[in-house]
């Protein structure tokens, strides 16, 4: 890895054609139409995790599927608008920090680690503090899962 010259001069991308937009207008239009619905179902699965099977991991995978469909069909350059490559791993780490911050906020306010009863949300009974605490950590899980999957795809393309 360390400074071998032919490695640096070689084109790092595995296959340039994978980064280009598709030639087919059918694939282009269909992916543009389908992607908002995939993202919407992803958000539904995430928010409905309190009431039905679902939650952070599953919703995050669906959201990543929506973004990756745009990456595949419109090309990497155009789909940077929905999720920039350079932000993926940083925001994934941010998801873990949301989770850890929820736990540590409870510690600093007098409770145990991840004891949502002590979260500083005013005007809520302890039961609903736990309800929204669960929702808060699921936000972190969703961000991490979604952005890690997008990051791995981008790294495979070498961009």
């Amino acid at each position: 890895m360390n400074g071998s010259p032919d490695r640096d001069q070689r084109d790092p991308c595995l296959d340039e054609s994978l980064k280009e937009p598709t030639d087919s207008i059918i694939v282009d239009i269909a992916s543009r139409v389908i992607t908002p619905f995939i993202l919407l179902i992803g958000l539904y699965v995430f928010f409905h995790g309190h009431y039905s099977p679902g939650g952070g991991f599953q919703g995050g995978v669906l959201l990543a599927a929506g973004i990756l469909l745009l990456r595949l069909s419109l090309g990497v350059a155009v789909s940077q608008a929905i999720m920039p490559t350079r932000m993926t791993l940083r925001l994934a780490a941010g998801g873990v920090l949301v989770f850890l911050g929820t736990g540590l906020a409870a510690v600093f306010l007098g409770g145990n680690f991840l004891d949502y009863h002590y979260l500083p949300l005013p005007g809520l009974s302890p039961e609903y503090l736990r309800y929204y605490g669960i929702l808060l950590i699921e936000v972190g899980v969703t961000a991490t899962v979604m952005l890690t999957l997008v990051a791995i795809y981008d790294e495979l393309l070498g961009c």
Binding site: H50, G55, F57, A92, F99, G103, L114, I134, V141, A151
Partner: protein
């Protein structure tokens, strides 16, 4: 060597089948995990979760309550494992040495 690996695989398959056959039937109320207290007299965690999950959090989905509240430290570890996988892929695949 190939024959040996097949023998090992067959042995593990036998263990697997044996373990599955011996599982208690689903919904068996007399199986140990479905009791209020186990054989040593200590309370079983599952009974507490079933009785108190909705009362503690007002969340109808018991699985979410267990994963997100009672066992949230485990979920934190899972999330960190996912992030670690992404970071490891970054350092293995990133030949252009983009800054992380």
């Amino acid at each position: 060597m190939k024959v040996l690996s097949y023998i090992v695989l067959a042995a593990f398959f036998g263990i697997l089948v044996r373990a599955i056959v011996e599982l208690p039937p689903r919904g068996d109320v007399s199986s140990p995990v479905h009791q209020q207290t186990n054989a040593t007299g200590t309370p079983v965690a599952g009974a507490y979760y079933i009785q108190n999950a909705y009362r503690d959090t007002r969340t109808p989905n018991m699985v979410t309550v267990i994963l997100g509240d009672y066992r949230s430290f485990d979920t934190l570890g899972e999330t960190i494992v996912v992030l670690a996988g992404g970071v490891a892929c970054f350092f293995i695949l990133n030949t252009r040495r983009r800054k992380p």
